[in-house]
Amino acid sequence: MTKPSVEELKAIAKRVRRDIIKMTAAAASGHPGGSLSAVEILIALYFVIMKHDPKNPSWPERDYLVLSKGHASPLLYSVMAEAGYIKKDTLLSFRRLGSPLQGHPDRRRIPGIEASTGSLGQGLSIGIGHALANRLDKRSNYTYVVMSDGETNEGQVWEAAAMAAHHKIDHLVAIIDYNKFQLDDATKVICNMEPIVEKWKSFNWHVEEIDGHDWNQVIEALEKSKNVKDQPAVIIAHTIKGKGISFMENNNHFHGVAPTKEEAERALKELS
């Protein structure tokens, strides 16, 4: 696979953001805000970093991706459609009865989805399981876990963090989509997790801190994290919830509320 240029990545990102708007608007439900904030992260993983084959989703040599923040399913589906796992024309069936595109990812329904998520806080543990299995089988593939800041309120995240470092698990990279909001309010209002970088460092993780919308920083941090030995790595990616659409940026109304038809039209115009 030849790696796309930054220009090409940007074009994919625009299409993915348009798809997120169209899918949530058509379903009249879903989580646009936290989908839009992690667009660059997921595209960098699928199009630059991960070893994977859409024609062979259970290829044993593949890298694993766990979308722990399962409510960002519109993002996952649209990126997987770009990558060739999902037919583009099924995207608008999102959240309809019988659709494989469930409100939250369901690994039984779409080959290539590694974990059924939607109950926050569990993905990192699952990722550790993948990494341990790969280590046992002497494979050198990687596991990536995409989480969110509010999600790290969950105690299980910190159990997993302690255990992964204790077992010196490398080939495991967590990415935190740090968009500063959770559901009811800003993360610093509900349950402030700062100082985040120091927390992960004190848990013995390798930490990278980046702008999660800067392609070069995202790709570089992922490459660096892959090379960390005998230690898990986490990337704290500063992002903007609702990124890319002026009236959705940092507007937590759009956490779990879809754009109306008019809002969707305005958003698509901005993304044209």
């Binding site: 439900s29 409100g103 939250h104 939607g118 309120n153 009811d184």
Partner: protein, 311 residues
């Protein structure tokens, strides 16, 4: 039957919390970053000091509530039923049930009528789990009026109690004057041929089913069994004696719900022919609530079919 949609039971809960907060300064409310959905946000607006949004951490949520209860407060704890019950089960057990503390657990988004969010957000196991906790009261009110009353009863009741509320607007069954008592079912219709026992959103479906059966000259009793535990023994035994046929309908996994509770009672006291309308040992999926209730067989037609099967 005319279907008049009222408020969702979660709305009635949130509104009643404000009244209770005014009456009793010991009432405190806790949530885990879902206050807009569970409607505890209404309490927060009036009593910000007595409201604790702990963040996305359900196990800690219940542990903190236990400590508050042990210190004399009356904590009402809320989140989605899927997370509140399933992620905090040991905390409910060791923190509240075992020490017999006065904790009120009110979980929203029960059942599959959650809709488009899909299976991960739908609790279909909560009644089985909560009835398994020794001494725990377990309830599912069917409309806004009974949910409001039940919330009041919870504040009066001393001990661990669980109420499931639902996401969608609920068909109106009662009015303000309804008298709800924990552990006492309400007979909404009397019939001699068969007894339909239901709770939550299925109460309306059971009433509809009774009407449909009446057209075929089958007279059905309908009971709103809002309390699964303690179960209304007297009412159920007298109904089973009279009709000898009982259909239980609920928005829950068939294992361990209201159906199991009623069957366990009647098997011992007054065996009857029984049928169960419930989720058949499967997870549901995303979709509009009405389409899901159709697909998973939780409608009046399904109750009618079950009734005819055993008659």
């Amino acid at each position: 039957m005319e279907k008049r949609l009222g408020k969702a039971t979660r709305d009635a809960y949130g509104k009643t919390l404000i009244e209770l907060g005014k009456e009793n300064p010991n009432i405190v409310v806790l949530d885990a970053d879902l206050s807009k959905s569970t409607k505890t946000c209404l309490f927060q607006e009036v009593f910000p000091d007595r409201f604790f949004n702990v963040g996305i951490q359900e196990a800690n949520l219940v542990g903190v509530a236990s400590g508050l209860a042990a210190s004399g407060k009356i904590p009402f704890v809320s989140s989605f039923a899927s997370f509140l019950v399933l992620k905090s089960y040991d905390q409910l057990r060791m923190g509240a049930a075992f020490p017999e503390l006065n904790v009120k657990v009110v979980a929203s988004h029960g059942g599959i009528s959650v809709g488009e969010d899909g299976a991960s957000q739908m609790a279909i196991e909560d009644i089985a789990l909560m009835t398994s906790l020794p001494g725990c009261v377990v309830t599912i009110p069917c409309d806004e009026f009974s949910a409001a009353q039940m919330t009041r009863k919870f504040a009066e009741y001393k001990g661990l109690a669980y109420m499931r509320t639902c996401r969608p607007k609920a068909p109106i069954i009662y009015d303000e004057k309804v008298k709800i008592q924990i552990g006492k079912g309400i007979k909404l219709r009397d019939g001699k041929d068969i007894t339909l026992v239901a709770n939550g959103l299925l109460v309306f479906e059971a009433l509809q089913a009774a009407e449909d059966l009446a057209k075929e000259k089958i007279e059905a009793s309908v009971i709103d069994m809002h309390t699964v535990k303690p179960l209304d023994r007297d009412l159920l035994i007298s109904e089973a004696r009279k009709t000898g046929h009982v259909v239980v309908a609920e928005e829950h996994q068939i294992w361990g719900g209201l159906g199991s509770a009623v069957a366990t009672l009647l098997a011992q006291e007054c065996p009857a022919r029984m049928a169960f309308v419930a989720i058949q040992d499967t997870y549901a999926e995303s979709g509009p609530p009405d389409e899901l209730l159709d697909k998973y067989g939780l409608r009046a037609v399904d109750i009618v079919k079950a009734a005819k099967k055993i008659l």
